[in-house]
């Protein structure tokens, strides 16, 4: 039998594509409905918290106006409530944490992605994740009991040698024969060091993931041109991972701003507006909430909620920026931050 080629064009019966949206069966409809209602519940719960916080911030903002954000005193007795100094304290702690955590997490990520023997990589990655899983109260204990005696000496040393910069000044005589160690404890500096331990694993995880996606061709091209190992890192890996570096650091910053218990254990609360991280006494928004919620009257509670809302907004802004930076960058297309 032979194949016959068709010579006349086929009759013009128009093709109707089958409708590919089929009716859902009963069980599927139930499935869609169930998951949708679960999602709606979660939306109501999580969105409700945000709306509730925003709503409870309104009366406080009406009552105190912008002074609430810029005021430096928290005196419920005389009806003066301002979180200016607390915001500055929060930023100081976060800044110290970032200054310590940024180089360390960057180098740790570079080590895992570039320098470590391939056999060790999985283990080191787990170790960084483990560091993220250690409870913050444990870092608080570590910072308070183990780190503080050493860190206060470092603070004293910085004050002695860099005290001419106002930022490093402490209200005591640095060169006294018997220096006053207690002046250098319970400070934003030491709290920042403990918080850095929580920031490092978060930032390091994002950076390592991004560095791991560096195109092998570009690395090898740099090596083939005679670059040293650091030359490859500087010209290929770091530019490729820039988005991850910035994004990871900002995610860590978000964590640093909201950290409560380690800070609360270490600092001694004070309400002065000051930019002296080495000196005893500071306060952060979360420590303020944890310290004051118990004795709060209704107005004060509303003010604490407003402070919490401000903190949440700052964290949210930073996290959103971090996500945008990671997603925009060349390396971040596949990475989830």
């Amino acid at each position: 039998m032979q194949t016959v080629l068709r010579t006349e064009p086929p009759a013009h019966d128009v093709d109707h594509p089958r409708d590919i949206v089929v009716d859902l069966s009963g069980s599927d409809r139930a499935f869609v409905l169930t998951t949708r209602s679960i999602a709606a519940t979660v939306l109501v719960i999580t969105g409700g918290i945000g709306l509730f916080l925003a709503y409870s911030a309104v009366p406080t903002m009406n009552r105190y106006g912008l002074d609430f954000l810029t005021g430096t005193r928290w005196e419920p007795e005389s009806d003066v409530l301002g979180i200016g100094s607390v915001l500055v304290g929060t930023l100081t702690v976060a800044l110290v944490a970032l200054v310590v955590a940024f180089p360390l997490s960057l180098m740790a990520a570079l080590y895992i992605a570039e320098y470590a023997p391939p056999r060790l990589r999985g283990f080191l990655t787990s170790l960084v994740d483990l560091m993220a899983a250690v409870p913050s109260i444990v870092y608080g204990l570590w910072g308070f009991f183990l780190l503080q005696p050493h860190a206060s000496k470092v603070a004293h040393w910085i004050h002695q040698h860099l005290g001419f910069i106002p930022f490093f000044r402490v209200d005591t005589d640095a060169d006294a024969a018997v220096w006053d160690q207690s002046k250098y404890t319970a400070s934003a500096f030491i709290a920042g060091l403990a918080v850095a331990m929580m920031v490092i694993p978060m930032a390091c995880a994002v950076m390592r993931q991004v560095f791991g996606q560096t195109p092998a061709g570009e690395r090898e091209a740099a090596f083939a041109l005679g670059a040293t190992h650091w030359g490859v890192v500087r010209t290929v890996v770091l530019p490729f991972g820039r988005g991850g570096i910035i994004g990871g650091t900002m995610l860590g910053l978000g964590r640093a701003l909201g950290e409560t218990i380690a800070v609360l254990l270490i600092i001694s609360p004070s309400f002065d507006l000051k930019l002296k991280p080495l000196e005893i006494g500071t306060n952060t928004v979360s420590a303020l909430i944890a310290g004051r919620f118990g004795e709060a009257s209704e107005t004060q509670l509303a003010a604490l909620l407003a402070a919490g809302f401000v903190l949440f907004m700052i964290t949210l802004l930073i996290n959103t920026l971090a996500a945008v930076v990671v997603n925009r960058s060349r390396s971040g297309a596949g990475a989830e931050a």
């Binding site: 719960i45 918290i49 899983a133 250690v134 183990l146 490092i200 909620l305 964290t315």
Partner: protein, 378 residues
Amino acid sequence: MTLLDEPRTSADDPTPRTTVRTEPARQDRSVAQQTRLMSSTTAEQRFVQAGSWVAALALAWLVTTRVLAWEGAVAFCLTWFVLGIAFVALTTALVGTWPEVVDRVMSATIHAAVVLLGVALLSTILFIFLRGREALFHVNFFTQDMEGLGPRDPFTRGGILHAILGSLIEVGIAVAVTIPLGIGTAIYMTEIGGRFARIVRTVVEAMTALPSIVAGLFIYTVAIVFLGLPSSGLAAALALGVMMLPIIARASDVVLRVVPGNLREASLALGASRWRTVWHVVLPTARPGLATAVILGVARGVGETSPVLLTSGAASFVVTNPTDGVMNSLPLYIYSTVRSGEPLEIARAFAAASVLLALVLLLFVAARLLARPKKGIR
């Protein structure tokens, strides 16, 4: 189909297109495909590096103890580090060029930073267990509570049973609520999608930024101040749940999104309904990842102090009914006893922290084991 693009027959083309290989395949093929290890050093370089660090160690001892009298381990280590970098730079500069010097210095700095981090992590874990060991090794520490005991009672009396039970109950309730909600939301976001799913995803991602203390303050205000409920384990569980829900939903979403789409399509093409596809294909594929997400969320919840601090109160006795007034938990017990300032109490707090840390380590190892790909699949 037309006959125009018919492939040419071998008659037109004298060279055969397919050849059967007669000699055996070369054995070293796998070697050629391996990426070359870039950080190879010679024995001489390693010797010079080690020598530099030893020399720096000796000089650091001399500087800190004899010349400048800076006491303390931190000063010694910092001096050693600075001198070591200087020695590495010097010894490289003797034989090498500027890029080589930079390369060695940066490599040494990175290694030193990693050692520092390792020391920090190790010191955290060891320090907690060392300080906790006095109170930890008594059976009564795990079987009794602190009812009627003062801060000066010996370690042979009292324990943290109430805190352990409280932690388990609170986290248990929180997990029982958040897992179905979190994973259900993740399934909706990845498997059904649409505009509403995008809204949910945006809100959930935004709420992962919620500081845990604010979650606690929310529950405190709503449940305890407005509704007038007493401080209780249930309120603490709700606060933990509110904190964990976005974390678990987001992590599960990430895990479900990386399930390969062709598995779903294959299942649907075989005629399975969407529900069956999710239940028999998507969820089993994502199970290790989901388990990891949940366990890490639980580890986070167990260790979180601030929501509990605001909502549960602190009982010194065993409470098993979460709605029945104050309850204690491990992080809260640690926080409140450390604050008391009594040496024996602080020792107890460290022992409780060891238990908490051991619990988190256990959860972490479980998560790692579950996440490991099974042999034979990959």
